[in-house]
């Protein structure tokens, strides 16, 4: 019915991610858009403002790749492993290379970030929340501001909307118009997508519109707000896709020593990003054996009946 929005990752990033943009690649541990991040590195985008609740290894790699001038976040770690060392080197004055600009940071709590996207998605000038009381966060970030309730005279906090120029969302499946379905952890992807001006969807599987329409409650993002659909199986590796493949914990553990050594990081980027044309090449390099270790067993949801009403 509608025109297909299916394009290559190269095309999507070339067309829709511009130097200086605020870019949100969201996905809380689940569905992290590694393949999109790698393409942004490969295309040597510059001066991006990167927003993400948990920058994770993908932003460590992107920042090591030199694409960003600023980071907006709420938790800066390699989950279950330790720190994000490439990012830390751009934040801790003692670690900065001579002449290197420090990375600008803008920091919230998790609920603060979620509330920023929610305000952005809802077209609101702020979102109130009961966080930050008696902490140093509002001092560190002047965009966390007190607000008085018009009903109780209670003073709570507010955060402003976050409206990325581009949101990139990895998902299990979408149709060619960008109607996108996700199961498992939902994070703040819906909010980030509605908040953004442009949306790139990256999916494991392109499905017929009829698959989406068979279960409309499963849709988290409508094609209406989607600019491009990229089909890239295993595009979230080393993070995971519920039902499709497991988190590659070994990769996260291996990244720790690599990330502590700037030259090792650059070598990794050369081997796994710059010298590869696309995600298919990355998956081939990773190898069928490694991929095979990530296959889960089956746990079907079961089907419900929407009923046919004519």
């Amino acid at each position: 019915m509608s025109t297909s929005k299916v394009v290559s990752m190269h095309g999507a990033v070339a067309d829709l991610v511009r130097n200086g943009d605020t870019v949100a690649i969201e996905g809380f541990t689940h569905l992290i858009g590694f393949s999109a991040g790698h393409e942004i590195i490969r295309q040597r985008k510059r001066d991006l403002v990167l927003a993400r609740m948990t920058p994770d290894v993908i932003y460590d790699q992107m920042i090591a790749g030199g694409v960003a001038r600023k980071l907006i976040f709420s938790w800066l770690g390699n989950p279950g492993v330790g720190g994000l060392n490439a990012i830390r080197r751009r934040i801790e004055p003692a670690s900065l290379a001579p002449g290197q600009t420090p990375l600008e940071i803008e920091e919230y709590s998790h609920f603060g970030m979620v509330s920023r996207y929610t305000a952005g998605a809802a077209g609101l000038p702020f979102m109130p929340l009961r966080s930050y009381f008696e902490t140093d966060l509002p001092k560190a970030n002047p965009l966390i501001r007190p607000i008085r309730s018009p009903f109780s005279d209670e003073v709570i906090y507010a955060v402003p909307p976050l409206n990325p120029d581009v949101a990139i969302i990895h998902a299990q499946r979408a149709d060619a118009s960008g109607n996108t379905q996700v199961w498992g952890l939902l994070g703040c992807q819906k909010e980030a997508a509605f908040a953004a001006d442009r949306v790139i969807i990256v999916v494991e599987e392109l499905v017929d519109e009829a698959v989406v329409r068979a279960d409309p409650n499963r849709t988290i993002i409508p094609g209406l707000i989607v600019d491009a659909v990229v089909v890239e199986p295993y595009g979230a590796h080393p993070s995971y896709v519920q039902g499709a493949y497991d988190r590659d914990n070994r990769f996260y553990l291996d990244w720790d020593p690599i990330s502590r050594d700037e030259s090792a990081v650059q070598q990794w980027l050369k081997d796994w990003v710059y010298d590869l044309p696309d995600r298919a090449a990355y998956v081939a390099k990773l190898g069928a054996e490694r991929i095979a270790t990530l296959q889960p067993g089956s746990a079907p949801s079961g089907s419900v009946d929407y009923g046919e009403y004519r």
Binding site: H30, P79, G80, H110, F111, R130, E134, L186, E191
Partner: protein
């Protein structure tokens, strides 16, 4: 299996003691906000021992998780499959935590002061940090909105400090009276920190809002406790000896919860 003499009391590590002690503190609790790492093992141990009705909530958006394996990351797919409900993070933080449905939130930190205030943001000045730490994540809102906060961290003079460099998560602020007044005026769900479980002992908070050592783990000494804390700690006049982990507790930790020994070495 065997019908002969009981096995000798098994040896255990301090991390194992810490996990077991934290798990026991969960007896009688209902809804627990689970953090990654040590809290994750402690909570899953409690569910298998003292608190079978415990509902596990993960900030990633899961209520009623039944993880089939110990997740390395806070958002492992094993916490989703077979859970009771999976929701957006807005809903998790707004409708579960901020609404006041969470009984216990677990926190760790790089620094803690005597009143249980926590720093997980920076060592050194915020704008020019000596060490940049992960930051709040959900910690600041857990500290404010979970009814009870359990802290689990290893003691060291660098961590148990007189003054934290950055207050990420409020504890008893400058003392119980001030904290109580502020919590009431601000409509916090939380009553503040209720216990700090370390590798050496179990601390609760006295009427002034300060940490007090109530139980010393087997093998730990008061000298050690004092050597790993920057202030002169309060010691309960009724100091208890923490019962050693039982064989069953150790079996669960070693065989089911952390078979790789990642957290319990």
């Amino acid at each position: 299996m065997s019908d002969t003499a009981p096995a000798p009391a098994p040896a255990f590590s301090r991390s194992e003691m810490m996990i077991v002690a934290a798990a026991r503190e969960l007896a009688g609790q209902r809804v627990c906000f689970v953090g990654v790492g040590l809290p994750n093992i402690a909570v899953n141990l409690a569910k298998r021992t003292v608190a079978p009705e415990l509902e596990l909530v993960y900030e990633a958006g899961v209520f009623g998780a039944q993880p089939a394996r110990l997740p390395l990351s806070i958002g492992d797919p094993t916490i989703v499959t077979g859970a009771t409900a999976v929701v957006s993070m807005f809903e998790l933080f707004a409708f579960y935590l901020q609404r006041g449905l969470i009984d216990v939130g677990f926190l760790g930190a790089a620094q803690i002061d005597r009143f249980g205030n926590l720093n997980s943001t920076v060592i050194g000045p915020y704008d020019a940090p000596k060490t940049r730490l992960p930051g709040s994540g959900g910690a600041c809102e857990i500290a404010i909105n979970a009814k009870n906060v359990f802290v689990i961290m290893r003691q060291s003079a660098r961590s148990f400090v007189n003054e934290i460099d950055f207050r990420t998560s409020p504890g008893n602020l400058g003392g119980a009276q001030e904290a109580e007044a502020i919590r009431r005026a601000g409509g916090w769900n939380g009553r503040g920190p209720s216990v700090v479980v370390t590798d050496l002992g179990i601390w609760h908070f006295d009427e002034t809002g300060e940490m007090r050592l109530d139980s010393l783990h087997p093998g730990a000494t008061l000298d050690e406790v004092r050597a790993t804390i920057a202030w002169e700690p309060k010691i309960s006049p009724h100091l208890q000896a923490t019962p050693a982990p039982t064989s069953e507790e150790l079996r669960l930790v070693r065989e089911e919860l952390d078979p790789g020994g990642v957290y319990t070495k």
